[in-house]
Each structure stands twice: as structure tokens, then as C-alpha cells.
Symmetry: D2
Subunit: 338 residues, 4 copies
């Protein structure tokens, strides 16, 4: 039974801890820390964990009750606990991003490379989604030939808060496409470009300018456009279409009751994103548990993936300023990640 | 240029005459008769035909200006003009039904058989519909193996008038399925059965009881259910699904703009039936013109088809009284129709 | 932590025990019995349960380590353990059927009614399937008006063994439709009828005659046809379409990668039935655990449901002999099940 | 009866003349000229026109038997006959392009403006396609709000000849998107950009480099990407998706028999482009006939549309050289075209 120490008790932490307790197997939560102690207490209570909150991140990481560390704290606080856990050989699952700055992300990669084994998995869960998995398999089976172009759509019905920023579109939404496109196309990125389309006049978040068209080019020449719209109104929808030499493969529409009514044939699109990747969250975590609990290196999205996504997202933000193409030079990929 | 004499100037007559004048080639209208003279005058005027209304059906049929007779008058008035045209060797296109009674229909078949050549085409246009054509081709190509079962749906949004009768469901709607199912399944009917389902409480036509489930069995054992609903509310829709030994083939949904809106992905279903078989009406008539104008026998739905459909529809009405299965014995099919 | 005693270690037992151990929460397996002791040992080993096989059904049921009994043994062996568990107030989850004979099923119902509380859940899992759930919700929300007619399709690619019998089509396949149609239509059955369609010439199981068209009529007049085909060749597919007064609602096609290739746009249909109801199996069992572990009566498919399904299935087999309609008189439904 | 003089007897001329003779009404062909006299004779023969080929373009245009001129000759020979017909007040329908050079196209616009009335229609038929019409109506009805982004796909299975050039992708395929996008978005173009995606290794035409991603930006900020692939292998397909502030509207897949077979649910995609716009060709021509035969100015794609499409296509070819964005300055749109 793998023993997790959990850092951070926000929304995504609840999702994962709930899965660990109720839907997965082979692991349990033995330590919890949150900068706000009552949040940790509340979670302990909710899941009836029968433990005391850890007094510090260090205490949690170093606890003899903790085999592996889960980093679910705020985006810009991941680096320190990751590096500390690494230092004492405890595997880490961190929610995205690996780090918010390219430098810190690189620092983590370097530390892991120095260890000489993969110990970190980053929570880019889409690769575990059964529909993305099947899409990937279809491509890798050669059913559509070599992939040449792609078209993605990542739409949410409305900003979750009025504080929603343009940069959140990149850091919360687009990073997911960054995390899967190179995987689907089996190649590295060459450049990124993000342009504003015609502004959405219904947008109510002052700091948000959208929709956006983001273009990823791969080293092999493939071009993939992602349309990002946080004000779709109609619903939450994630689409991905890969065009190969001999065919096209794309994610299906999510299934729902098909209705004939009022001069229409329709099926529903949810407003909430919650359910779409529920299974992916479970599969990524069970996979992490299965590897780590048996002494294997995790094979999910690696620190290198985390680094390249952060790198690309930061360059995407740079591109947004003037809409120009920004080249991506990640540096040499260490052998550890090949 | 084939010269048509037109009997009857109602709705379907307008559809056909408009096609002859505007959308088809090789034929023109040279005589028109309607029991209501002003209806004939109005049609002559509308299509700028430059002719006088015929004074009688006999005058029209016998006119030296008429090569072929089109029978578009009321359902129970088809027999006389068909037999008279046949008598002087003028090919006939008649709207469905061939005749309203089984006896009259048989009388027409006998007269044609005596002539020794096919001179009559009955307006069961669905066989000319491109989608039914493709369905038929798919079956005949063996793509789904031998057909074993079928499921049809024939839905209209609401009765066209408050006088709409239960028998109209059979005579106006179900006859179309009768006309295509044996053709699709390449076999003759063995029995028909029509049962009322749970009554539709929204129905406003006093003489109408529906919906109904009509079951056709073929001599080879195949079973085909047709669901008939004149109060669908949502729209006009015709579906046909054929289940074969190795697969299923079915009519596609009619295409329309695909919309993502209001938590739905939808496409439209029309309330009107008008557009659905527009192309079929044109193709059936052009085919009749092409055959008759070159001295060939028409190959569309024959008098025999007309007879078997009327026969079956009348037995279906008999079945409706108690929901029992009624066997169908059409008698020996004459060689002319094999 | 609810403690289960498991009777029977076949395929479906593995599905449930695996879920209990790995994917659900709140329960564990503390006793196992199989008539073949090595099957029990193997399962204990596979799931690392650290227990000894029970020596008899009685020992298992009476064990102080067992709070609730799971009956997964052969179809005709369910009655005895169910009644014995009931006698000592231990809740039971039994796989379908409740019993193979109408008499035994009724005996169980009577025993439960005498207890005065619901203690039995029968494994008709489709009601827990998210797609059926959404279909039911759509109907109950009034989105399609009162349901009037239905059309179901239950197709498997090929018989699982050469011993597959015609009666297995009813007992293995059709029972699932029996278990959901009355639930979806909110009414009881009035009659059942099963007819053979044109025989499938590709069938290789000597004792199997198919496909079949099964017709359920409800007391309110609704008619529901189910097409049963164990030799579909193309795949495993379960469809259900409910036609209401103002619209139609139906199960969606199961989602899979959409591919454009070789002059086709397609998505895949699995040959295996395994994955289709995976989630339903988990939800039904978690629901049973959640109720029983907190002292509540289970609210899933009841003994009464189990009795009516067995009753209807047996009458369906009677109908198969000559294709006639067989009326269904279940007797008075006890208050316990209202 | 409008009398047409036809210049050029190639493939598209046959399509139009066949329609005029067989499927449309209100017009006939009274003069034909082709630089290759036998081509004209052959067409006269095929359609049984009973006329002699014209001896020159001038003779045809000036003939008292000709009311209107149809220009179907080679792409770079349209300007002269258009200007000559205009000079003597005879309306012209010209196949695309209006002219191959921006200068000649502008010269024709200037000549028409000088006339002070619209006399020219250019054969960009997509605006008459019922599916594009419905898409346009959906947008103009406000059903998806203001259009912000678009995604088009224009795929053919293989180059029609080994001589197929990269520039043909722009001039034969992309011009159609150019002709509809500004119409759908109700705005003028700001820039065009065409980039090569990863090269298709299956391509066999030496002068062809593809696929390409073409980006049109509109003055209002909307961005529309068109993916162009002449080696799709799987079939001929034209897609157009318009993303508005509150929803998405897109062309439907073309309907065809839906088949369940071999572990797939599929419908067919044609290899041939022929049928896709058959109805559009008829509707554009009937519309031209209806306007011109009653003395009205044609309202289909105008000379100005023809000029802007040629302008944009030529800039697209310029962009192809280095993939850069090219601004589009059409000059002031004359009042005649507002």
C-alpha cells in the first residue's frame, strides 16, 4: 500500500484524494499539508483519514509515513517540494504546471537527470483519456498515414470568474493541447504563434481578450491550429482532428441521449468541464500508483514534458503580444526522456 | 417531344406539370382536363400553356395531340381513364393509388396483361429517391447479406386537416412503405398486421386513432415493422433500416446545417414533407418520359405493383379492426411483371 | 467496511470481486465459496484476500465475518442461498436471474415481503448505465411527452459457444430489455410475443434459431419491439429508442475515434460486450454497498423485478413455440415494491 | 426564351449546356463557338441543337440570335469576350475566373461600372449550394451570433493529372473558399497567407507541393483557416465551419446510406467531386436566366466578386513563396456592388 503525502487541498486535490480513497487501489493518504491548516483538517475530516495535518512541507516530505509526494499547491509553488522530494528519493506526482517559469522547470529536469531515473509525473491527464488513447492508437497503427496537419478546438461556455485573464487561456486551456499534440504527432515543436480573432463582444471579464487561434508547428513541418474560446456560450467541448496522408482521425463527440424534438435532432453538450476527463484523472493516477508502488519509474508525462509545455506556454504568451511566430528551442532532450 | 394529356389539376398535378414545364425535358403538356373547368384554366394560365381545357376525359384521351395520359384526379376516379387510354394504346402515368378497390386494380392489371406489354406506371416515387436507390444498391450488392428484418418510421408532425381519418394513415402514408419494402427485400408479402400503440393524447382529429405499428411479413420469413405517427410534433421524417445477415443498412438522416448552440449539437428536421421527395418526383417522371418517348415500356412501379399495394392496404385496414394478422394472397403474378 | 461472502467464482464473480477490491469503496470480501474449491482458492489468490475458502454455503452465510451475501453461482442455484441469507437478515445481491422458475422467484418475493423490508438486489445492471440513466431522465423530465412506442436492438456478433441455444437468446439477452422497458415506460407489462424472422443462414450453432422479434406490450397500450440477433457479425450493439407524444429519445451510438478513410467516414463497433456495461456494473455495486453498509434498504432492481423478468422470460419462451401473444399476469404487486 | 451564345466547349460547358437543354427552363443555346471547330460541332450534335458553329467570337457575340453570352473558354481568354459583350449591352455569364490577372479583372469591373448596371455573373456556384445557403441563413439569422473564426477543409482524393501544379490548388480549389468566406462573414478580406504543412509523401505530381494551410483574415478581425489537400486518398470533401459568439454552424456531412458492417458504422464519401455541386450549378444558372430574361440585373457573384477573388488568389500565390502574410488592398468598392 503506497503512502502518499499530499501538499495542497484545493479543488484538484479533492478530485485526486477522492479517487485514491474511493475509486483506485494500492495507495492511501498518510499525510496532508496546506498553507491554510483548516483546509487540511477539513479534507482529513471529509475523507475520514484519521491523521493530523503536517506542520510543514518539510515535515511531510521527510515523514517516514510518506513514500511519495503529491504536489497540488498553487501553480508557482511546485518547484521547492518537487526538488526536496527528489533529493530524498521520493517519487512525485505534481499537478500541472511542473513550474511556472521555464528556468525552474529546467532546474527540475536537471535534478531528475542527475538522479538518473524518472521519478516525476506531471498531471497532463489527457494522454490517459480513453478517447485520446484511441486516437493516438489509430495514428500509431498507421490507419491515417503520417500526420500532416491538425485542428483542435478547446471551448468553455464562460470565464469561471471575472478575474479570468487572457494568460489563463494559455496556462489553463492551451497547455493541454500543447501536452498532447507533440505526443499525437510523434515529434517536437518548432514554433508557436497565438493570434486574436475577432473579439467576442459578449465577453464580461475585463482582463480577457479572446477568442484566439494558436498555431503549433512541428519540426517535421506539420501545422496544428487550436481555436481557443472561453465564451462559447453553448458548452464545454474539446475536439482534436488529425489529418494524415491517407485519412483523418478525430475525437468523437461526447455521447448523450439523442433526441428528436421541436424540428431538431440533437444531443447535449455539457456546460461543465468536470465530467469530461474524470476517467483520465483516474487512469493517470492508478498508473502512477501501479508504477511507483512496484518500484518502477513512472511512464506518464515526464518532467521533460512538463518543461517543454511550460516553455511553449511562456513563448505563446510572448507571441500574443504581437501575434508573431516564436521559435521554440528546448535544448537537447536528455537520454532519460527518450 | 412527348405530348401529355393531364387529367386533374390538384396539388400533385401542379408538382408534376411544373416539373414537365420547368425541370424536365422531352415532354410537354398539350391537353388538360379537370372536372372543375376553372382549375384547368388556372393551370393553363399559370404555366402559360396556350391551350384550351379539354371538354371531357374522353376528348382528352382521344385527342390526336395527346401521346400519353397522366391521371392525377381523385383517388377513386383513376380506373376509367386508365382503361380507356390502354384501349387505344396510349401509355399512362397514374398517381397512386392505381385504384382504390382491389377489384378495379385487378381489372386494370388484367387489361394490361391482355395488351401483352407494360403501358402503365404508378406514382410510387420512393423507388426513385436517391437515398432509397442507394439503400437498394447496398442490399443488392450483398453488402449486408440476405435481409432478415426491417424497421421503418413514417412520421408527420400533425394531421393536415381535422378530417384526417385513421384510414388515411394507411392510404396516404403506409402505402409508401408497402411500395418499397418488397422491392428492398426482393420478395413478396405473406401477411400484414396493423396494431394501435398507446393512443396519442395530443391528437386533435376526431376520426384519427394513432400511432400504429404495421407489420409486413415476407414469404421468405423476413419481418418489417413500420411505426406510423401523424402527430410526431417534431417533424416529418421517413426512416428505413434493413438488417441483413452480416450488417445493417439504413437511410441517412436528411442533411442540414449542424449547429452547436444552447448546450446542444443539432440539425433541423423539417415540418413539411414537400422537399423530401422532390428529386424522386423528377426522376420518376423523367424516367417515364425517357421510356415512353422512345417507344419503350415503362420500367417504374407497374400496374402489378399498384395492385399489390392496394390489395395490401385494404387488408391492412381490415387488420386495424382487431389487430390480427391478415394473410395476403395476390394470386399468380403474370409473366409480364416478372 | 461491509463484509461480503461470495458464492460462486465464475466470470461475473470475477468482475464484481475485482471491482470491490480495486475500484469501489466501503466493502471487502471476507468469505468465498465455490462448489469447485480450487476456483475459490484461485480467486482468493488472485485478489490476495488472505482467507480460506468456506466449506459450505451454510458456513459462508452464517459466518460472523459476513454481513451480506453475493450470489454468483449457476442460474438455477440462486434460490437456496437467497432464502437462507434472508432468514438470518443478511442482505443479498444476486446476479440475474433471481431464479430460473417463476415459482421459485415468487417464493423469494414472498419471503422478502414477509420480512417487511427490501433486502435483495438483482443484478440487472442496465438501469445503472449512464446512457440508460440519461434516457430515463429525458423521458421522466417530459422532454418527449408520454412514451407510446419503443424499438430496441440487442445484437451480438456470434454465439459464444456452439452449444448456444435459442432459449439463451431470451435468458441471456432479452431479459435485459425486459428489465429496462417497463422501467423506462413507467408501466407494467400486459403481454409478450416472440417471433422468428427470416433464419440467418450463417448461424453455426445447431440449437440456435434466430433472429427473433420480441414484442412487449404495456398495460397502457405502448408497444415495444426488440430485435434480437446473436449472429450480427458486425459487432455487439445495444440500442433503445423511445417514441413519445412530442419527440423521440434514444441511446447514443457508443463513441469511438471518427475516421475518414477509404471512401468512408466511420467509427468502430466492438465485437466484445465486455466494455459496454463496465461502468453500470460498478455503479450498481457501489449503490448496493452504499445502501446496505448504512443500514438502508437497497433501491436497485428488486426481487419483484427479478420475479417479473423471470416470469416474462418464461412466457417469452412459451411464445417462441408458435409465435403467439402470451398474456402476463404477475399477480398483485406487494406494497413493499411500490 | 433567352438565347445564349456559348464560347468554349470543354467539361464545364457541357455541364451548363446540358442543364440549359435538359434541366432548366427559359433559355436555349442558339450559337456556339470553340477555337476547335469540331468540339463545337460535337456539342451541337450531342444536344441536337440544329445550328452551325459560329466562325468567330465576334460573330457569336454580335449575332442577332444571341441575347446573352456564356464564356466557358480557357481561363486566360475570358476578358476579351466579356468586354466585347458588355460593349453591346449583352449580359455575360462567365465561368471562374473572371480573369487570370488582377489588371484584366479590374478592367472588366471598370467597364461594367461605366455601364452603370450589373451585367456580369461569375460562376462561383457555391453560394447557390443549398447547404451553403442554409449555413449563410443560419448566420444571418443570428443563430450563432457574430462570426469570429472559421475552419474549412477542401480535400480531393488525388491530383486529376500528373501535370497538376501547386498553383492549381489555389486557382482551382482555394478560390471557392475565397468566394464564400467573405460572403458568409459579411466582410471584406484584410490579408491572405498560405503555408505548406508537412509534405505528403504519397504525392505523385512533380509540380505539386502540398498540403497547404491558407489563412484569410477579415477586416473585422475574423480568422478563417482552410486546409487544402489534393492527396486526401479517402475522398472528395468540402467542409466549412463558422464559429460565432454564441454558437457554431457548419456544413453537414453529405448524406449516404448508413451501414453497420465489419466492426464499423460508416457512410460513404465519394471520390468524385461531380455530384457535390450539381444542384448549385443548376440554381446559379436558373437564377441568371430568370434575372436576365426579365431584364433584371443578375444578383449572383458579380464582376467585383470575380475581381476580388482573382486579386486574393494572386496574392495567395505570392504568399506561398515564403509563407508570409500578404495584405489585400482591393481599392474602393464601387457603389454598383454595394
Amino acid at each position: 500500500m503506497l503512502r502518499f503525502g499530499v501538499i495542497g487541498c484545493g479543488y484538484i486535490s479533492h478530485v485526486h484524494v477522492n479517487d485514491i480513497v474511493n475509486n483506485l487501489h494500492g495507495a492511501k493518504v498518510t499525510a496532508i499539508y496546506d498553507i491554510n491548516k483548516s483546509a487540511a483538517e477539513q479534507m482529513i475530516d471529509e475523507f475520514d483519514l484519521g491523521i493530523e495535518p503536517s506542520k510543514s512541507i518539510d515535515e511531510l516530505i521527510n515523514s517516514s509515513e510518506v513514500d511519495s509526494v503529491l504536489v497540488f499547491s498553487k501553480n508557482d509553488t511546485h518547484t521547492e517540494p518537487i526538488l526536496k522530494a527528489l533529493a530524498i528519493d521520493k517519487p512525485v506526482f505534481t499537478e500541472k504546471p511542473l513550474a511556472t517559469t521555464t528556468e525552474e522547470a529546467k532546474q527540475i529536469v536537471d535534478a531528475e537527470v542527475k538522479k538518473g531515473k524518472r521519478m516525476i509525473q506531471v498531471g497532463y491527464m489527457r494522454r490517459y483519456d480513453p478517447y485520446y488513447q484511441e486516437l493516438k492508437q489509430t495514428i500509431d497503427n498507421g490507419e491515417i498515414g503520417t500526420p500532416l496537419m491538425g485542428y483542435c478546438r478547446h471551448f468553455a461556455p464562460a470565464p469561471t470568474t471575472n478575474d479570468f485573464q487572457t494568460s489563463d487561456v494559455i496556462n489553463d486551456s492551451f497547455v493541454h493541447e500543447i501536452s498532447v499534440v507533440s505526443w499525437l504527432f510523434n515529434d517536437d515543436y518548432k514554433s508557436v504563434q497565438v493570434q486574436y480573432a475577432r473579439p467576442n463582444s459578449t465577453n464580461t471579464a475585463a482582463g480577457l481578450k479572446e477568442p484566439q487561434v494558436a498555431t503549433l508547428k512541428l519540426k517535421n513541418g506539420a501545422i496544428v491550429n487550436t481555436y481557443l474560446d472561453i465564451n462559447s456560450h453553448y458548452g464545454y467541448e474539446v475536439k482534436c482532428q488529425v489529418i494524415g496522408e491517407t485519412g483523418i482521425a478525430e475525437l468523437p463527440d461526447m455521447p448523450s441521449t439523442r433526441v428528436h424534438k421541436d424540428e431538431k435532432i440533437y444531443n447535449s453538450v455539457p456546460l461543465e468541464s468536470g465530467g469530461r476527463f474524470e476517467k483520465a484523472f483516474q487512469l493517470e493516477f492508478q498508473d502512477f500508483i501501479d508504477h511507483v508502488s512496484t518500484g518502477k519509474e513512472p511512464t506518464g508525462p515526464s518532467a521533460w514534458t512538463g518543461y517543454t509545455v511550460t516553455f511553449t506556454a511562456n513563448k505563446a504568451l510572448e507571441s500574443l503580444k504581437n501575434g508573431q511566430i516564436v521559435d521554440l528551442e528546448f535544448g537537447q532532450k536528455p537520454d532519460l526522456y527518450k
